[in-house]
């Protein structure tokens, strides 16, 4: 028996790693991967809660998260390609035209 809080803690660590990655990484693709990491952390807590509360809907949510993540990956990577095509860089610190 593994306490629920362990799973939640693991999910939380993954999520925190994801946020930190988002903050400290400069490469757009890596930043994007950090987002996926966050989603995975959340997914873990979904599944853990599903097991805890005996509710399969938790697992269903995971599928929806995955589908959204897939859609997001498709669009996001397309955007990255488009950005790279115009700016010739993947460093977000150099992609900063959107300001006053």
């Amino acid at each position: 028996m593994v306490p629920l809080s362990y799973y939640l803690a693991l999910g939380g660590i993954l999520f925190a790693c994801g946020v930190t990655g988002f903050l400290v990484k400069r490469n757009i693709i890596t930043i994007f991967m950090s987002i996926e990491l966050m989603l995975n952390g959340v997914n873990l807590s979904f599944v853990a809660f599903a097991a805890q509360w005996h509710a399969l809907s938790g697992q269903i949510f995971v599928f929806f998260v995955m589908v959204v993540a897939a859609a997001e990956a498709a669009v996001g990577l397309a955007i990255i390609i488009a950005v790279y095509r115009t700016r010739e860089t993947l460093n977000v610190d150099r992609v900063n035209l959107l300001k006053l």
């Binding site: 593994v2 660590i13 903050l23 990491l37 990577l77």
Partner: protein, 172 residues
């Protein structure tokens, strides 16, 4: 069953190591592979929780499809090592402490709330049949909406990634 705890710890450590490696590595392809590792380990965690279908889908969709796309794009754009630019002091000054503070708060709440409760492993197997039933009955509307979302995402991706000058060539 200590075995479960042992397995949990093993895969949990792999997970965290992968996540940290994602942060530490400077080359995106290493980060991507770390993420694949994280996802594989997560699939194992799902198996421990009895969610075997989720685990399989996690591998197929995340590791097998989404991350392949990432790797593909990294290869396509020939992304190199990360530059160490300091474009944003805010992210370090406010963001990282914010993350740490928020995580600590949540952890504290979780531990004080659920510290004692244990999950009955395998108590809730997620057989594909039941999940399919739920998905196509109770969650039919969200399911269909998601399908529309995916369709839009496909169209968006095609439009975004296609060359603006590219003319549709005629098949000969």
């Amino acid at each position: 069953m200590q075995l479960h705890l042992v397995l949990f710890v093993i895969f949990g450590v792999v997970c965290v190591a992968g996540a940290v490696n994602l942060l530490v590595q400077r080359h995106p392809i290493n980060s991507a592979l770390s993420l694949v590792v994280v996802m594989g380990a997560l699939a194992a965690e799902y198996l421990l929780l009895g969610a075997e279908f989720v685990a399989a889908v996690q591998v197929i969709v995340y590791a097998g499809a989404i991350m392949v796309l990432f790797v593909f794009v990294i290869m396509l754009l020939n992304a190199g090592e990360e530059e160490r630019t300091t474009g944003s002091r805010i992210a370090l000054l406010f963001g990282v402490p914010g993350v740490v503070a928020g995580s600590l708060l949540i952890a504290w709440v979780l531990l004080s709330r659920f510290g004692a409760q244990a999950v009955a492993i395998g108590a809730l197997p997620g057989p594909p049949k039941v999940i399919g039933w739920l998905l196509f009955h109770d969650f039919l509307l969200p399911f269909e909406l998601t399908s529309i979302l995916v369709l839009i995402a496909i169209l968006g991706a095609v439009v975004l990634a296609s060359h603006p000058e590219a003319q549709p060539k005629k098949e000969r």
